[in-house]
């Protein structure tokens, strides 16, 4: 058998696992591994400028491709810097493998230089973690890590590697395991057939049906089947923030996003439905609003999820189904095919009429300013027009994220890349880099705000080094917009630490300083032309600093403690 050092085993194991791209940052504890990377040419390593960006870039790559993202960081601060990115991936169930260096085994527990208990620190935010004690275990551990990260409900897995384990002088026999069996880890596959039948009967018997689909549909590659089922039934459907793209936004059966900043029609239909099919969604507080007793009061709730712990966690399911979305959807479609039961088309017609009335509210209508001031929504609409709705959109967190979610209209899965669960500012730019690396020919856009962008702007340098022509659209309202909005609405307009106009950098010059192109847009009249100019520069990173109306709020907005039907629709109107 081939004899390899721990460091070489690691790169070989990654290659044998099908990894061709990793994101990382070197340091003392991982120097053996970096030397092993230097000596091979199978795996490309992207040098980021901060470990947090490595995790977000790997995350963006994973979300866009469905393949696991891989990160390599050193011990101590390298590992702790990766923590936010790991938590981000954990909350959104993104497959990721994080290789973190560790001090030599003999130093563990002695407060050695750059020592931190990474397995301990990351424990609540990983699906699982490993500490390599013997280099000979590396192939098996890598195999297990990827298996765990990518199957079932995906998530991040940490492999902590003490420096001595990768010592180039110590060689071990290398063989990559073909498959893996773990007695304590089984992946749910098919759902319970009896339950699926019950769910289909309930769906067919519905008078006011509603389908509510989340990120699990995208992660589980179920978008196509879900679309088929929804169209076969002719029922209305809404997507969660994480689920955007699971059903084509341009289809008339789509009611838009639901929840905190969901459309009027989606939230109303949720509240008044009598049968709700929740699929790959976890009934989280941004959807249900804080008081779950007021959630969908008349509905029989059918809940499909691969994670049994997601079912009946916040809202009790009447028909729980544990299984992969594809297996369950396939069986539901079969069941539907064979069923003698007919849809109550009269009731459905009435229901659609009701929905049409709600739609008339036009809750996402934008009234343009006449004085040339740009509304942030108009920027997203223009980006959609110019990219023909076919770009990959990454965002940070805040108002710009909600505007992008509401106004871009995603027709395909894996195009919408955002930190939904953890809500991580600084996510968007590195994530867009990961997307661009995965799809060099695609348009990778980062819609951001001037607040979020400053949390990972050092990645300008990474984009220069690797020629990543990401398009950054900064909705610059000179304040932490979402914080400011809440301060407007709940704190009497006291802008406690949410404004900083006087200290903002000149983003155009900043982009130029890193060798990129910067464009500023200040007037509505120049919006389209200048955006087109930016997107025409196909092989350059362009930072577009769009000065937008700082007074703008994101609406609709759920009223705290209310039901889903309780919304603020504008600065002057409530439901």
């Amino acid at each position: 058998m081939e004899q390899l050092s721990g460091g070489d085993m690691l790169t070989r194991a990654l290659h044998d696992e099908g990894v061709d791209l990793i994101f990382g940052y070197p340091g003392g504890a991982v120097l053996h591994i970096y030397d092993a990377i230097f000596k091979q040419d199978k795996i490309e390593h992207i040098l980021v400028r901060h470990e947090q960006a490595a995790t977000h870039a790997a995350d963006g790559y994973a979300r866009a491709t469905g393949k696991p993202g891989v990160v390599l960081v050193t011990s101590g601060p390298g590992a702790t810097n990766a923590v936010t990115g790991i938590a981000t991936a954990y909350m959104d169930s993104i497959p990721m493998v994080i290789l973190s260096g560790q001090v030599e085994s003999r130093l563990i527990g002695t407060d050695g230089f750059q020592e931190t208990d990474m397995v301990g620190i990351s424990r609540p935010i990983v699906k699982h973690s490993f500490m390599v004690e013997d280099a000979a275990d590396i192939p098996m551990i890598v195999k297990k890590a990827f298996h765990i990260a990518t199957t079932g409900r995906p998530g991040p897995v940490v492999i902590d590697i003490p420096k001595d384990v990768t010592d180039p002088k110590v060689k071990h026999p290398y063989e990559y395991p073909k498959d893996i069996k773990m007695r304590s880890y089984t992946v749910p596959g098919k759902g319970h057939s009896g339950q699926i039948k019950k769910a289909v009967e309930a769906l067919l018997g519905a008078k006011r049906p509603m389908i509510y689909a989340g990120g699990g549909v995208i992660q589980g590659e179920g978008a196509e089947l879900l679309t088929k089922l929804t169209q076969k039934l002719g029922y209305p459907i809404t997507n969660t923030l994480m689920g955007l793209g699971a059903y084509p936004a341009s289809d008339p059966q789509f009611l838009g996003m639901l929840g905190m900043h969901g459309t009027y029609e989606a939230n109303m239909a949720m509240h008044y439905c009598d049968v709700l099919l929740g699929i790959g969604a976890r009934f989280d507080d941004r959807v249900t609003n804080s008081d779950t007793s007021k959630f969908c009061p008349d509905a029989t709730i059918l809940h499909v999820d691969i994670d049994p712990a997601s079912i009946s966690k916040t809202v009790a399911a009447d028909v729980p189904i544990v299984g992969s979305v594809t297996a369950v959807l396939e069986e539901m479609l079969e069941c539907l095919e064979q069923s003698q039961q007919a849809i109550d088309s009269e009731a459905l017609e009435t229901w659609w009429q009701q929905i049409a009335k709600w739609r008339e509210k036009d809750s996402l209508g934008v009234t343009p300013h006449t004085n040339g001031i740009i509304k942030p929504q108009q920027v997203v609409q223009a980006v959609h027009r110019i990219t023909k709705g076919d770009a990959y959109i990454s965002t940070d967190v805040g108002q710009h994220q909600m505007f992008a979610a509401q106004y871009y209209g995603f027709d395909k899965p894996r195009r919408w890349i955002n930190s939904g669960g953890l809500g991580t500012m600084g996510f968007g730019f590195p994530a867009a880099m990961g997307v661009q690396l995965a799809f060099p020919e695609a348009i990778s856009v980062c819609i951001t705000g001037e607040g979020s962008f400053q949390m990972n702007l050092q990645e300008f340098a990474t984009c220069m080094q690797y020629n990543l022509p990401v398009k950054i659209i900064c909705l610059n309202n000179q304040s932490l917009g979402m914080v400011r909005q809440w301060q407007d609405m709940q704190y009497g307009g006291r802008y406690s630490h949410s404004t900083y106009a006087e200290s903002l950098p000149d983003f155009v010059k900043l982009a130029e300083a890193y060798g990129h192109v910067g464009i500023r847009i200040e007037n509505l009249g120049e919006l389209d032309a200048k955006l087109e100019e930016a997107f025409a520069l196909k092989d350059r990173l362009v930072f577009v600093d769009v000065m937008v109306d700082p007074e703008e709020h994101v609406y609709p907005m759920a009223i705290k403690g209310g039901a889903m039907k309780d919304m603020i629709l504008s600065k002057t109107e409530r439901t």
């Binding site: 424990r123 609540p124 699982h128 500490m131 304590s184 049994p308 009946s312 009790a316």
Partner: protein, 163 residues
Amino acid sequence: MRRIISLLMENEPGALSRVVGLFSQRSYNIDSLTVAPTEDNSLSRLTVMTSGDERKIEQITKHLNKLIDVVKLVDLSESAHIERELMLIKVKAVGAQRAEVQRLADIFRGQIVDITATALSIQVTGTSDKLDAFIAAQAENTVLEVARTGVCGISRGDKVLTL
């Protein structure tokens, strides 16, 4: 409601911290916890006493089952089971008090395991209630030290928790 969950987990470093961490992370209660290897060297058995309504217990068992190191789990309190806890208790005992403590120990089927001129150490085994009762039965201000193992249990009948 008081529940006893018993589980088999991989005898791996960090496995226990994952279980304990889960409880603190999701703010579930641990009333007692006991863990030791089993007849199979690769497995440890952990028994945790916790409390909560049906829904909470369902979440606890689901999340425990999700932990990669947890191989198998049973909620003992769901059916007939035997539970035991062991207590070592040191009580002050001088003069007439010595005979009284000894009598109490007899009633509770405890064993005196150590003795000094002023104190007696007693081992008592039984359900948690029984141990509570034994402590309560001691004269005021005489309990010097209590060490309890926490509950462990096993199902009644032929049902077994095994792979």
